[in-house]
Symmetry: C2
Subunit: 182 residues, 2 copies
């Protein structure tokens, strides 16, 4: 997905600064996508230059000005057009589609070159990690800051439910079949 479409989409959920967009990628979106500051800031600047977003500078005494971007009508149109135009190309993406780079699977692939105790520890920690992820996806309490907008989306509930189901499957598979690795 083009970085422009993605930034516009996130801004459609409410006005935000570049820093806050980054927080979304490190918070609720961290398991699905990410963009770096080096991409976010230039993208916002170019979107602003082309009037797809407007910017209000909130001067805060001694911190750098907080630049809060708001999507414009023109921006909404561009976002919708791009989504519609590219929708079909995203069908074969995601879990078991393109762009996945799973270092954990690579580690499993080469596990025979690692000492058994090491692999045992790794698998134990992986299980702990997945349990933690599961809790995270099942947690329904309040989230800090302005990250509520994204949590309250209907689609986000759907995605979290899916993620939760997938992790549970992965966990029980790992627990039942880890013996087959060595």
């Amino acid at each position: 997905m083009q970085k422009e479409t993605l930034c516009l989409g996130l801004l459609s959920l409410g006005p935000r600064s570049g820093y806050e967009i980054k927080q979304m990628f490190e918070g609720p979106l961290s398991d699905f996508y990410s963009l770096s500051f080096g991409t976010i800031y230039p993208t916002l600047n170019s979107l602003q230059a082309d009037k797809y977003v407007s910017c209000k500078q909130h001067s805060q005494s001694k911190k750098p000005d907080k630049k809060v971007y708001t999507i414009t009508k023109k921006g909404m149109e561009l976002m919708k057009d791009n989504l519609l135009g590219d929708a079909s190309s995203y069908i074969r993406s995601g879990n078991f589609g393109d762009q996945i780079k799973s270092e954990f699977f690579l580690l499993l692939l080469f596990s025979k070159y690692l000492p058994k105790e090491t692999m045992n520890t790794v698998l134990n920690e992986r299980v702990l990690y997945l349990r933690q992820k599961l809790e995270q996806f099942n947690y329904d309490g309040p989230v800090p800051g302005n990250l509520d907008a994204i949590r309250n989306e209907k689609s986000v509930s759907f995605i979290r439910g899916l993620a939760s189901a997938l992790i549970e499957t992965g966990l029980s598979y790992m627990e039942k079949n880890r013996g087959k690795l060595s």
Copy 2:
């Protein structure tokens, strides 16, 4: 995972050319990782310069020479050292770890901006795509070329079983809950 470690790991399964390594990424590894020619060829050259692999040139009349690389003892050691040193950092990767970029999830996130019929078609095609993937992972017949080495790995059976279980979960979740999206 460093590209060097990865290429060495793949060469540990048997001697191969750069083109054949790429075939592994486009075949059995396509759902887990990928490297481009622009990375593979320079990596092999530098591995050869440092004696981690040896190279035998098979001249084939009028095609460009096929350069078949074989991992050396020094290369095996480097690979094992790297795997051991970095193993713990791969625990939090993979499905629901870092480096995932799922455009399909992004599309779901912004699905409210798409016409209902479009989303309906997209979800139908996604289901078809996942069914196809499932078949692919469950297929146990022969594979063409030299891609058998990787299929016969114990770890690959484990991974394929996991992938298969995950896709099944994803499929039934989608079928049961797709109504919640609109």
